[in-house]
């Protein structure tokens, strides 16, 4: 068994290697900057491990093919960026309703429409949560380093399998194209969730049956003689369309609750130098790199600043942030957009303390100096 080893890797590459370590054996995608290296690396690596790569005719088709592969029991992934993420939304919603596990990587770039394809941004934060129609929950994770990309994509697959839902892996151009040293854990160190494929004791023949105390059904993959139905229509426990408002309401509510009632399991944050802090910089993804430098510089200048970083960005870590607010005098939200996670932070802060904002939407990166300047302004 290979031991842990140190390598130099790009974020997009770490995403692929981590996914393969998690058991991903199917990738369907369409070329788009700045996520293309993920497709290229999958084309090289998947056949080597007996997996399948396909470059589909468009973004919609690649999302559909990923769901198709997943219903046969194969862990599947796609990757894209802003315009492609918009196109994938319909079938992401299908995966949420039909409860088909998969991972959707969005390496964010700048601006609406075609925007600035090679520049960094975090403007898809709200889209990751609200991009599809109708009410359903979303799990989205966001890494801030190449090392974390590797380990967090494994967690994305684990959560996807456990809760039978697409998981959004919200990268940004900063982390996707960053190269840094990574220590690859040995396979023995990794925790890999397998798909739960049956609750049956012979009594229950309903594929979407969920036992008391559980939140998620356990269907076998296609091709094993079960002969069940999957649909994007509201359905009953047998998997067939229903016209009953009560049955549909129960289904839609269970989908919300399977995430909302398991926040302790799903939500992860990083807290850095917050214990004695009076000011918290809130940030996520690649922005955390500048924020952490700014915190260290601020500390060196005698300011009591710490960092609060959601790793699970959806559901938003409201309870974790709320628990920190008591000791704080102010919060500064730093993100590469016009103020998206800011809305979540303001909701949690509920006007009990000032929430400052530093954002950028021109495709350039926020520097530690920018953050430090803003911190000084807020303290003044």
């Amino acid at each position: 068994m290979p031991e842990k080893k140190a390598v130099l890797m790009q974020g997009n590459e770490a995403c692929v290697e981590g996914a393969i370590a998690a058991g991903m054996r199917f990738y369907a995608g369409y070329p788009i900057t700045p996520s293309t290296e993920i497709a290229e690396q999958c084309a090289v690596r998947l056949p080597q491990v007996g997996g399948k790569f396909i470059q589909m005719e468009d973004e919609l088709g690649s999302m559909a093919a990923v769901l198709g592969a997943s219903v046969t029991g194969v862990k599947a992934m796609t990757a894209t960026s802003g315009p492609g993420f918009s196109l994938k939304q319909e079938n992401i919603g299908y995966g949420c309703l039909a409860e088909i596990p998969c991972v959707v990587v969005d390496v964010q770039r700048t601006g609406p429409s075609t925007g600035l394809p090679t520049s960094p941004a975090q403007g898809d934060y709200m889209q990751a949560r609200w991009g599809t129609h109708g009410d359903h929950p979303v799990i989205a994770l966001s890494p801030s380093s190449v090392q974390e990309t590797y380990t967090l994509i494994i967690r994305a697959f684990n959560l996807s399998e456990k809760y039978r839902t697409p998981v959004i892996f919200l990268m940004d151009e900063i982390v996707g194209h960053m190269r840094e040293g990574v220590v690859l854990p040995s396979p023995a160190e990794l925790i890999i969730n397998k798909r739960h494929i049956s609750y049956r004791d012979g009594a229950n023949k309903q594929c979407y049956f969920v036992p008391e105390g559980a939140y998620v059904p356990a269907m076998k993959p296609f091709g094993q003689g079960e002969r069940y139905n999957i649909t994007g229509l509201a359905h009953d426990v047998s998997g067939f369309p229903t016209g009953s408002n009560a049955v549909a309401g129960d289904l839609f509510t269970r989908l919300m609750e399977k995430i909302d009632h398991n926040l302790d399991d799903i939500v992860r944050v990083e807290e850095f130098m917050l214990d004695d802090a009076d000011t918290a910089v809130v940030c996520f993804g690649g922005t955390a790199r500048a924020a952490m430098s700014a915190v260290l510089e601020a500390r060196a200048a005698g300011m009591k600043v710490g960092m609060f970083r959601p790793i699970t960005v959806w559901p938003f870590p409201a309870a974790q942030l709320r628990a920190r607010l008591a000791g704080l005098k102010r919060v500064l939200m730093v993100e590469h957009n016009y103020g998206q996670m800011l809305l979540e932070v303001q909701r949690v802060a509920a006007e009990k303390l000032p929430v400052g904002f530093l954002g950028r939407i021109d495709g350039t990166v926020i520097s530690p100096a920018d953050i430090l300047k803003k911190l000084r302004e807020m303290e003044a």
Partner: protein
């Protein structure tokens, strides 16, 4: 015996179906079931029922997947062939059948149709082609003939229609054929050939929609619409014996193209061998 077929291959708990009286879709669904039954029962083919996956999109046609007692997935509008591509590539031993409609596969899903045909990935696409969007109440589709009326073509349709089988053939499909609701036996045979074909196959089956297309265009009752198919769609043996003059205005029921190309998932298996040899 039809009743036996229903008990064997339909999910009777989920019948009756939602289709209108006189709709041709039920006949076509039955053709698919008979084709599968004959291949399952044929000792030389020995098709494994548990390995059959029925995939559909959205529209009247696509409700058929849910009625058929196999692993079935009713996907999103236009995306059935793309879902099917993922299923087949992930597990090439599965026998993938796509049930779709003229709008589902040649309008919103047209891109997936032509690219699956080009790749020659092993799946059998059966189109329930009724010249109209029935589920939404009678809007013109890519196969509505020029001049015909629909709720969105109140002054006559000025679009030129697709011939879906020719479209697939033009995109490189290695097996294409045309059937009709009237020609049940011939159509069943064509579906069987499509399933046995190693590669992408498409059988464009003309359905009848008396409720929307027929009524808007004064095509008469369902039997009259089927009678039109009987008179104007000609099985291959007879069609090829006809003179050019006699063929005018008539449509072939039978195989349009049948060629052998390497099948995509088999090629992928070779690619894996190459990648692993190089590693």
């Amino acid at each position: 015996m039809p009743s036996e077929l229903i008990h064997k291959f339909m999910r009777i708990d989920h019948l009756p179906h939602i289709w209108c009286a006189g709709c041709g879709n039920g006949i076509i669904m039955r053709d698919v079931a008979v084709a599968l039954e004959e291949l399952i029962d044929d000792p030389e083919v020995n098709l494994n029922r548990g390995k059959v996956v029925v995939v559909s999109g959205i529209g009247c046609s696509s409700r058929a997947a849910g009625y058929m007692d196999f692993d079935s997935i009713h996907t999103t509008h236009g995306r059935a062939i793309a879902f099917a591509t993922g299923i087949k590539l992930a597990h090439p031993e599965l026998e993938v059948i796509v049930l779709t409609g003229d709008g589902d596969c040649s309008a919103i899903g047209g891109n997936h149709l032509i690219h699956a045909a080009r790749r020659n990935i092993g799946m059998t696409v059966v189109t329930f082609n009724n010249d109209i969007y029935g589920m939404t109440g009678g809007q013109y589709s890519p196969t509505t003939p020029t001049g015909d009326r629909a709720t969105t073509a109140p002054y006559g349709n000025i679009d030129r229609p697709f011939d879906i089988a020719q479209l697939a053939a033009g995109a490189g499909a290695s097996f294409t054929a045309r059937g009709s609701a009237y020609h049940a036996r011939e159509t069943t045979e064509l579906i069987k050939q499509g399933i046995l074909h190693k590669g992408f196959s498409l059988i464009d089956v003309y359905s009848v929609c008396p409720t929307y297309y027929g009524r808007k265009n004064h095509k008469g009752s369902a039997p009259e619409m089927l009678q039109w198919q009987k008179e104007n769609m000609i099985p291959a043996a007879r069609y090829y014996a006809m003179s050019e003059e006699q063929k005018r205005g008539k449509l072939l029921i039978g195989t349009l193209t049948h060629t052998e190309f390497p099948e995509y998932t088999q090629e992928y298996a070779k690619l894996i061998e190459r990648a692993q040899a190089k590693k």
